[in-house]
Amino acid sequence: MRLYRPSFAHVFGWFMQRISALFLVIGMVVHFWVLHYFIEKPLTFEKVVERLSSPGWILFDSLLLIAVVYHGLNGVWNVLTDYNPSPKLKKFYGWGLFLIGVATVIWGFITLIPFTVTA
């Protein structure tokens, strides 16, 4: 029997989607629990600064940002490639999503910094 052998990049993409999902399952539950059920509403700048005074929370938020951007954009990539684009278009999608991802993570970090320096 001839087996279909997907490329390393393909398997790696599938694997990383699962790894990021695993982190997001825990991360999203914690994120929602803390910000919607635990912290008394309304949420304010002061409350965010108080939480982000601990390095553990900064690390958590940073990892959540990276995982969610990767998982989301890799998911969009999976949807787009399901429609069998031409190699040229596929390359365009790949680079486009990669650049959007990098820019979004940088934007996220720039947003995170003001909460940590005031503390």
């Binding site: 999902a21 997001l24 539950v29 929602f32 979004t104 720039i110």
Partner: protein
């Protein structure tokens, strides 16, 4: 006949197909939301007051309903994602339909528990 996502859904009408479509729709919606989320929070660059004002804009009935729908999308995507992973790596293929029932049950539990927490207007007298 030209096949698009909608005709495929019509031709292969079954619950697995519906769960697949819902996973994609919630996934794309949540990815778009991430940008909106960072955009809202990025108001912090103009200081504390600007940030509080930015969050305040969502503190109304429409904002609360939107957040509740967001929670439902996350809950469904999360539980169905766990189902997909189980089928992928643990050979749960035969149980995949029964597992969809659990996905719906867990999503409904989250929906019921969170309703008044996310939309407090419901319990307030008009």
């Amino acid at each position: 006949m030209k096949l698009n996502s909608l005709t495929e859904l019509k031709l292969n009408w079954n619950w697995g197909m519906v769960s697949f479509a819902l996973h994609r729709i919630t996934g794309i919606a949540l990815t778009i939301y991430v940008f909106l989320h960072i955009w809202t929070l990025s108001a912090v660059k103009d200081g504390e007051a600007a940030f509080n004002h930015s969050l305040d804009k969502w503190d109304n009935l429409v904002g609360h309903i939107f957040e509740y729908l967001l929670l439902l999308a996350v809950a469904y995507h999360l539980f169905n994602g766990i189902r997909v992973t189980f089928v992928d790596v643990m050979r749960f293929t035969k149980q995949q339909k029964r597992m969809l029932v659990w996905v719906i049950v867990f999503t409904v539990i989250v929906a019921v528990i969170s309703l008044t927490i996310f939309i407090p207007e419901i319990t307030k007298p008009v």
